[in-house]
Assembly symmetry: C2
């Protein structure tokens, strides 16, 4: 497995692969890889001839009071995990390689970035859309796979790819969970054992919502109330948002007559966690 | 010569060319082609194996009170001219093909779009950067050629290509002029014979500025004063801006000790014209 740090070198390898008729699969990550990332890589292995993984903790998608500095990093472990899965290249540029002096361009996807994390984290999705475009233009993939744990990000990227006519297939991979239900996230490493227990309320509340819908409930407010009750039971957790949205437009969904996505974000201690699930009526 | 109206079809042809190892040259235009465009096409013929020209009057780069509706169009003539030069494909998408319902993405290059036309035409360069990216992703060129008559646009595109790691060589082609000095522009067709004479003041004022510099003048204000005097002589012309800028950053240049670009925009009647020249000291 190669490790490439320069954009130009990554582009040369991508050109070489494309000339050889190889289909390039790509997974952008911020590293500190977990089973969720590995599932994406395995899917890329199945769907493409060669697989590139980027490891880049992107400063521009963090707010000034967020966790950029302390975001967990372990390149050695990431390299080992990628090697084991059979990844062909890790693209790991430095911050100055990605943002040299004079950098001044941003990509704004306007509507689907307004609610949810867009409201809580101003500028986050401009940072995400811009860095993903830079990574796409470096790796030149035919196919890119994103985890649906970051549901809004997945919607934003799909919208951007379509709007800008990027010739890339964007695939969403279902959220990978710990055995007890917690959605895999590099940020789970921040949690103390007690917080780890509190964090389980996120996935439990989503499960309770789907149970309600399975029993015929379609009223959005009833479902949201139930979710908030579970999240608020027992303290140690502060809700950032709980919302029911249209799966593609992310406009508020008042009812679950059609599939709707339930999205939530909450602080457990200082750690901000997100989770979501698509609720399907009559299931 | 082929005429392609669908993004997907253009991408397929581009992929085919790339598989054949052909170098793709690209010239984005709004059609109503003139000798300036043809010079760009001939340069592309020299530098690339195949040449694509887009003809698309992009609504998003026009302001609400600008000339989108009456912008001159003559597809039949454009096809003939491209055929004569030996262009391989005209990419001529419709507005709904480029901006289907739900479109919501914009690319903002922040600093170099602030002065000059950026100030006079709010939103113009977001429209330009976004459509050029969409055209790039459709045509997948190795090389794109822009006319330096639109100097600021050329700077914006170069900056965007660099910032987003687009693997495209951006070439600027010197402004092509009528025998009497008027910079070629599709908008010259708006001018009455009288206005056509008034419009000559633009290129004459640039020439006078270079003459001053050739005679050793380096003071920005002296040069700008001279330019404004010539533009204002005789009426029929309203200055939008006259500025002396750094050739790459477009920051204001107070002196011409180093090369500086003199840029101007003026209304002749209802027609807004732009022109520029790079002033080089000690020439």
């Amino acid at each position: 497995m190669r490790i490439i740090e320069l954009v130009s070198e990554m582009q040369q390898l991508a050109d070489q692969w494309r000339r050889q008729g190889k289909r390039i699969g790509f997974i952008p990550t911020m590293g500190f890889l977990h089973e969720g990332h590995l599932a994406l890589m395995r899917e890329a292995k199945n769907r493409a001839d060669v697989v590139a993984v980027s490891v880049f903790v992107n400063p521009t998608q963090f707010g000034p009071n967020e966790d950029f500095e302390r975001y967990p990093r372990d390149m050695q472990r990431d390299v080992r995990l990628c090697t084991d899965v059979g990844v062909d290249v890790i693209f790991a540029p430095s911050v100055p390689e990605m943002y040299p002096e004079g950098f001044q361009t941003g990509i704004e996807v306007s509507k689907v970035t307004i609610p949810l994390c867009g409201r809580s984290r101003p500028g986050h999705f401009v940072g995400v859309a811009t860095v993903v475009t830079k990574l796409f233009n470096s790796v030149k993939p035919h196919l890119a796979i994103f985890g649906q744990k970051d549901y809004q990000q997945w919607v934003v990227i799909r919208r951007m790819v379509q709007d800008l006519n990027m010739d890339i297939e964007v695939v969403g991979h279902p959220t990978v969970r710990e055995p007890d239900g917690l959605a895999m996230s590099s940020r789970n490493s921040y949690l103390s054992p007690d917080e780890r227990q509190v964090a389980l309320r996120l996935s439990r509340s989503l499960k309770a919502a789907q149970d309600l819908v399975d029993r015929g409930e379609t009223g959005g407010e009833v479902i949201l109330e139930k979710v908030r009750d579970i999240l608020d039971s027992g303290g140690g957790l502060r809700i950032d948002y709980v919302q029911l949205c249209h799966p593609d437009t992310l406009e508020e969904a008042p009812r679950v007559d059609e599939p709707a996505v339930l999205l939530l974000a909450a602080f457990v201690g200082k750690t901000r966690l997100i989770d979501n699930c698509v609720l399907r009526p009559g299931k």
